[in-house]
Point group: C2
Chain length 302, copies 2
């Protein structure tokens, strides 16, 4: 391990700890909410994971020398939206999964009805969390309103939910790479792009910078999802926390299915490079962490 990697690892550990602490404060114990609902929300929200989206919010703010403190509520918001989508995806009517990250899924612990409501509540509460950037940290109302509006668009029918619906509707008959790319873009990349834009907006990014963040996001978002498809074929079950080849068993069509494993790996490298080049060509005072995150996502084994 060289020094640079060590530095990045310490950075990641510190940022992740910040996010975990902020998330833990988001559903306070004294909250006037039915206790079982709060427990169901907290169970999935605090179940670990890479916290990738919050890290991207913070790194995008840092790229523009913005306040990471002010970006933290929005980092929590996007993680709540991501968590709700996992809870609903795991439901019997959807993917019907019993385990996620080695833990029982929400509905296996709290029952289906409460799992549906916990997801609804996390999604709704995300908008309240985002508003804190204005209320507590004094980010201008216009910027925070834009972030909340973006969240609605990138997480909604035109974004993540649309991707999820297309995935579900196409489960039997997906025959074109474009269709798979539509699903990947909306199911995965849209929230990644949102995270980068939100961090940028917190730091007062201009239009050109927002466009660069968007292009960077779509490039690394697709790379991330192709890498997911690859790991599903080649990965270590222990590290992934789920059986490999599960997509194949479920007859899910993936990137390697269309273009092969080697070409998929090349595509991940290309997309990551493309994304980094876009970022470097734009005027960011401190893009280092974003660039490192892009490499980290490409190299990850789970």
């Amino acid at each position: 391990m060289n020094n640079e990697e060590l530095t990045f690892e310490s950075y990641m550990a510190a940022e992740t700890a910040k996010v975990e602490a902020a998330l833990a404060r988001i559903l306070p114990a004294g909250w006037d909410v039915p206790e079982e609902l709060r427990a169901a929300m907290g169970y999935s929200l605090m179940a670990g994971g890479k916290r990738l989206r919050p890290l991207l919010v913070l790194a995008a703010a840092e790229a523009l020398r913005g306040s990471k403190e002010a970006a933290l509520p929005v980092a929590c918001a996007i993680e709540m939206v991501h968590t709700y989508s996992l809870i609903h995806d795991d439901l019997p009517a959807m993917d019907n999964d019993d385990y996620r990250r080695g833990k029982l899924t929400n509905h296996k612990v709290y029952g289906e009805a409460l799992a549906i409501l916990a997801g609804d509540a996390l999604l709704t509460h995300a908008f309240h969390a985002a508003a804190q950037a204005y209320r507590i940290h004094g980010v201008p109302a216009e910027q925070v309103l834009n972030i909340m509006d973006d969240l609605a668009v990138y997480a909604g029918a035109c974004g993540m939910v649309g991707g999820q619906a297309a995935d579900m509707l196409g489960e039997q008959g997906l025959t074109r790479l474009e269709d798979l790319q539509y699903i990947h873009t909306h199911k995965t990349s849209d929230l990644i792009v949102f995270s980068l834009l939100a961090g940028g907006r917190i730091a007062g990014a201009n239009e050109k910078q927002l466009q660069a963040l968007e292009s960077f996001g779509y490039a690394i978002g697709l790379a991330f999802q192709i890498q997911d498809d690859i790991l599903d074929v080649t990965g270590d079950e222990q590290k992934l926390g789920k059986p490999t080849n599960s997509d194949e068993k479920q007859q899910k069509v993936t990137y390697p299915f269309f273009i092969g494993l080697e070409a998929s790996e090349a595509r991940v490298r290309e997309l990551t490079l493309e994304g980094k080049q876009v970022l470097l060509a734009a005027d960011f005072p401190r893009p280092e962490r974003l660039l490192q995150l892009a490499d980290f996502l490409m190299r990850r084994d789970h």
Copy 2:
């Protein structure tokens, strides 16, 4: 029918038509969304109903001589949130209802998975709709941000979803009127209060006026829900579009169960009067429509 009633009826018809037209524009045909998802969202959103919450948004704006045009996006937003809650409530894991307003429920037509996603998408899209008050109608960003934040709070775990969870968790063992009141307040009144506050904010209400709208909302909200409980015992099945005594059959505890039918009817009248008095005591230039709506809700037979 006297003239005043005729006038109110024409007013209601005109306002409802405005809301229906705005809702119909919210999910445009050319929208880049999987068509079946859009259809599932539209099916429930355009399934009729009283449109009470949107009417309250518009009437609250009118009470302060605010722009009803500017209030319309928020009126649509609250109806989308109300609709999503009905779709999720009707799911097999929740109330397991096959019919609503005489039509098949969403999951009976589109399947459970798409019904869950259509609900998620409507909830998410509501925040985008609300943001239009700023983008298109120029309501100050601070006010619109407050409205979006309110929506997250009143519709979330502390609000509607919390009430729904309490209702579900208490289905077997509800023994105290306070518990029922908690459920009624959050499941029903919170969205009514939100609607009134949002209309007020659009029109630039001051703190005192917002407080009056809140008190008015909690009074007529509870009256509305008690009236629902009463109609469930005494109502005309045809008008209600559902079998009466259904709550009793499902062993749901209602207001008449605790204090009897007559006392429940008296309570509806008292609460309505209380709400109207609060409103009259505050400084509203044109409170007439809100007062008429309160009476209308008390007198309704479905």
